[in-house]
């Protein structure tokens, strides 16, 4: 039996079962909280902090994707402190990462009136595109480190464990163990990671080639000749 919990979200009373996250409770109350790293299919991990909300009496903002409801909670999903926090997160992200293929994040930038140029001195993350297999390319210059790809490769879906975080702090990137090309890792090319990527960081190779201006015929010929070349090596 689940125990009911009573709280208010933006002043509106809500009753939900214990264990519900603030994100789910807000959705019940009709309040959409913006997210980046959160995905319904993945374990929530409170990485991006865009979903932070203000809880009455709490010292710090709470990430709504993992924070759970408790009785008598008073939650505010908008407000100056929340908005400023979200705006800063978006501005920092935009200062370092290519968000041109992340339309949802761009919409958030607009919604929070973020200034993408607020940190002009920031060092942009521009690692080279990795094209090491026939199925998809990895452009970590577009990666927002949401961790979804790592999670679906692990026990959120595939139990394959081919990729993980590497590096620390600003140098953090998604990678394979010992930087091996994907075909030499445990990767099975299910593409679960491509399916959950919120930006253009992970992309089917044929889509990428199409963007490069190749025609479908050229793409099909190219992938085949590339294959022959690799075999001859």
């Amino acid at each position: 039996m689940s125990i009911d919990v009573h709280l208010t979200i933006d002043g509106q009373p809500v009753t939900v079962p214990a264990g519900t996250t603030l994100l789910q409770a807000a959705a019940e109350a009709g309040q959409a909280i913006p997210t980046i790293c959160y995905h319904e299919h993945c374990t929530a991990n409170a990485l991006c902090r865009l979903c932070v909300v203000e809880v009455e009496g709490a010292r710090v903002l709470a990430p709504a994707c993992v924070a759970q409801v408790s009785d008598g909670m008073q939650v505010r999903t908008r407000g100056e402190r929340v908005d400023r926090s979200r705006r800063t997160i978006l501005e920092m992200l935009a200062s370092a990462v290519d968000l041109s293929e992340a339309p949802e994040i761009q919409r958030q930038l607009e919604a929070y009136e973020a200034q993408p140029g607020r940190f002009p001195e920031a060092e942009r993350r521009e690692p080279a595109l990795i094209d090491d297999n026939p199925m998809f390319v990895r452009d970590y210059g577009q990666c927002v480190l949401c961790w979804r790809c790592v999670q679906v490769c692990a026990d959120d879906a595939q139990y394959t464990f081919a990729i993980n975080f590497e590096g620390r702090g600003y140098a953090t990137q998604i990678g394979t163990f010992f930087d091996r090309p994907l075909p030499e890792t445990t990767c099975v090319f299910c593409g679960q990671c491509v399916g959950v990527c919120p930006t253009g960081a992970l992309k089917p190779k044929r889509e990428w080639l199409l963007e490069q201006g190749q025609t479908p015929d050229e793409i099909m010929a190219l992938t085949r000749s590339e294959r022959r070349r690799k075999q001859r090596k």
């Binding site: 998809f136 595939q158 075909p183 099975v188 299910c190 593409g191 044929r206």
Partner: protein
């Protein structure tokens, strides 16, 4: 960023799981495949084939015009023609007239038994229904079969005998509700990848215990509580010894046995001989492991069994499956959610092609052809004169080719199958193919079998047509056209309808069956109106995730699991089993047991996957060898080896992996240049007529690098 012109939702063409695909299309080019996260079968997950393996659609090797062989082929001297220069491009009219003329000529000369057809477990339900209708209604023959014969015929025969059923009893995703499940003879990770994800989640997230019974240390063994590494072909003693333990230790479900089964006493008496010690001596599996597995399964709250080709593809395939059915009936692990007997069907639509009557003993809906009441029912449905349909059982897939000689089968019509890769003992298959008088191939490529044909009819591929597939857990799902067929290629249903009309005209039948379908939906309506399990399935009802048959009427919600109250046969029957050794056992000249199977990256005869970038991920056949055996043969990973049986030999590279138990070697079936089926034995199960793909004796010796078909092919992969 590319904006799609359209996104078409359809069903994956590869395996029996039946994942939902969304094809993102720009200028008729599929550039991305996704799956909705609320998809009922696969919850947004896909495997490499579903997500990336569709590109065979765009291969320049596609057949896009009807083709007729330039050099007329004589029976006995038929040759393979892969080169387009050996074919003449013709109009549809010329091709269809030619096929109709020749088939009718041979039918008039030699009678109904001279014609046979391979239907196709890759094609839609509607197309299979229509093709068997053509051969039954017009040529009055039941020589209709498809690859189910090479796949789960043993399982289907056993399920029919014991329970009166022909399919998985439960839904694959119900594994989440099991607290213990057995996977045997199935490399689920590679062959039903999405079901394997659900199995692993059941173990790691919900604490279910997995028992793997398989000669190979499969990837699933990493998640297993127990692995029983049996020798190929020793299923019956292992399953019977488990039953022995369950009976001796009184772990059986007495209430269930009394209420729902018959034949317990005979079974119990027959199990006396199957002690774990005896099973250990034959199978090589530690007696304690057998006893532990028996206890674990019997004492589970909800135990389920999932099995694959390792059970059915044996000369005692039916007995193997009966061994599993005995276990489920003893323990009562059937008829409830999270329990059940679940043969994992291989092809995307092998369940559907069987349901649609592409089988020699059954009309659509598993109505036996030798029961006059069934024949009369279909005579009425097809507007055929009373007594018109043949009451004789037809030839099975394996028998059709072995009957290819004067006085036997003279003409063969192949829709999308590739027997020159998938039959056992291919050197003999080749002789049979050569002996045919007329051969038609309806396919998307010229494969190893189509190369023998007189006529090739270019078919539309799965993304180029509408229809339905039925997946392994009996779910009928929509297939939707996303692209126009290339060149003059046409959907199979259009080709068959057009051909049927011409044949009917030539035969001058007094009554006329209906061939003027406006589309697949009309064909489905006709089939559903006569097959009770499909009465309630309409295209409109399939829009949201499909329906699991049986669906007896239009208000019925479908059937996730079967046999809650009773079995179609009434009581479930126990069968006392004998251990029959494999037909060919290892000896001094051929000291290893060869077992064959599939790879994650490829599909069966290779017609599709070897025309895809999938081939770049896994371009060559590799021989799996245990290190003990490798040392014995003086071979290391990467060396070239010759593998020979009494029937043929192939050369391929060695992969020392310790995946198999010592004494057992493994070769995947997909690669024409080292075709595993050149080695396999054409011994058949007496009931199901399924060949013994999973066990034959071979020798392994060093070969020269130059003997490899493609020394440049490299497989450098880190996956299991």
């Amino acid at each position: 960023m590319i904006q799609p012109d359209r996104i078409t939702a359809t069903t994956c063409p590869y395996c029996g799981v039946g994942c939902t695909l969304e094809l993102h299309i720009k200028d008729d080019f599929i550039y991305r495949v996704t799956s909705p996260f609320d998809s009922v079968v696969n919850h947004g997950n896909l495997c490499v084939k579903g997500r990336f393996g569709y590109d065979f659609l765009y291969s320049p090797a596609r057949v896009t015009t009807p083709l007729i062989r330039k050099t007329p082929q004589r029976p006995g001297a038929r040759t393979q023609a892969f080169d387009r220069d050996e074919w003449r491009q013709v109009s549809w009219d010329e091709a269809l007239n030619h096929v109709a003329d020749r088939l009718v000529e041979l039918y008039r000369r030699d009678g109904p038994g001279a014609l046979a057809v391979y239907a196709c477990a890759k094609a839609t339900n509607e197309e299979n229904y229509l093709l068997q209708k053509l051969f039954r209604a017009l040529f009055r023959t039941n020589n209709v079969d498809h690859c189910t014969r090479l796949c789960h015929a043993g399982s289907v025969a056993a399920l029919l005998k014991a329970l009166g059923t022909t399919a998985m009893s439960n839904t694959a995703a119900e594994v989440a509700k099991s607290d213990c499940f057995i996977v045997t003879g199935s490399n689920t990770t590679e062959n039903h990848p999405i079901i394997a994800l659900q199995m692993k989640a059941a173990v790691h997230k919900r604490g279910a215990r997995l028992i793997v019974i398989d000669p190979r240390r499969l990837e699933l063994c990493r998640s297993a509580a127990l692995w029983l590494p049996l020798k190929p072909g020793t299923n019956v003693p292992v399953f019977s010894a488990m039953a022995h333990v369950i009976v001796k230790e009184k772990l059986y479900n007495r209430a269930f046995i009394e209420a729902r089964t018959e034949g317990f006493d005979e079974l119990a008496a027959s199990l006396e001989a199957f002690t774990p010690e005896y099973a250990e001596a034959i199978s090589g599996v530690d007696r304690e492991l057998i006893a532990q597995a028996a206890r674990m399964y019997a004492q589970a709250e909800r135990g389920a069994i999932y099995w694959g080709m390792g059970i059915s593809q044996l000369a005692h395939g039916t007995a193997s499956a009966l061994g599993l059915i005995n276990l489920a009936l003893l323990t009562g692990h059937i008829g409830r959610e999270g329990t059940g007997l679940n043969p994992l069907r291989g092809q995307n639509n092998v369940q559907g092609a069987s349901d649609a009557g592409a089988m020699p003993y059954h009309y659509p809906g598993y109505m036996l052809v030798d029961d006059p009441a069934n024949a009369e029912k279909w005579e009425r449905a097809w507007n055929i004169e009373p007594g018109g349909l043949s009451r004789e059982r037809g030839l099975t897939t394996t028998e059709i080719l072995s009957h290819a000689h004067p006085g036997g089968v003279r003409a063969l019509y192949i829709m999308g199958e590739n027997p020159m890769m998938t039959e056992p003992n291919l050197n003999v298959t080749r002789e049979h193919m050569q002996a045919l008088e007329f051969l038609v191939a309806q396919d998307v490529f010229i494969n190893e079998s189509g190369a023998f044909a007189d006529v090739i009819l270019p078919a539309a591929a799965w993304a180029e047509k509408d229809g339905t597939f039925t997946n392994t857990d009996r779910r009928v799902q929509r297939v939707r056209q996303a692209l126009p067929p290339p060149g003059q290629a046409r959907p199979d249903w259009q080709i068959v309808s057009a051909l049927a009309a011409r044949i009917e005209q030539r035969l001058g039948r007094p009554n006329s069956a209906y061939w003027g379908y406006e589309g697949p939906e009309a064909i489905w309506r006709e089939m559903a109106s006569v097959t009770p399990a499909n009465h309630g399935v309409t295209y409109a009802r399939l829009e949201n995730g499909g329906l699991q048959t049986p669906v007896p009427d239009e208000s019925h919600p479908g059937t996730p699991f079967l046999f809650a109250e009773t079995f179609p046969a009434g009581r479930g029957k126990f069968f006392a089993l004998d251990y029959v050794p494999s037909v060919e056992l290892p000896d001094e000249a051929y000291p290893f047991i060869l077992t064959t199977g599939r790879l994650l990256e490829h599909w069966h005869g290779g017609t599709l996957s070897r025309h895809s970038e999938l081939d770049a991920l896994y371009p060559e056949a590799l021989l799996e060898l245990h290190e003990i055996d490798a040392e014995r043969c003086g071979l290391r990973s990467g060396d070239a080896a010759r593998v020979s049986s009494r029937r043929g030999s192939v050369v391929l590279r060695v992969n020392v992996r310790n995946m198999t138990r010592p004494g057992v070697v493994f070769i995947p079936m997909h690669f024409a240049e080292a075709a595993a089926n050149l080695l396999t034995i054409d011994a058949l199960d007496p009931t199901a007529k399924i060949p013994e793909f999973k066990a034959c004796a071979v020798s392994v010796t060093r070969a020269a690098e130059a003997e490899l078909a493609d020394p440049q092919a490299v497989t450098r992969r880190g996956r299991y």
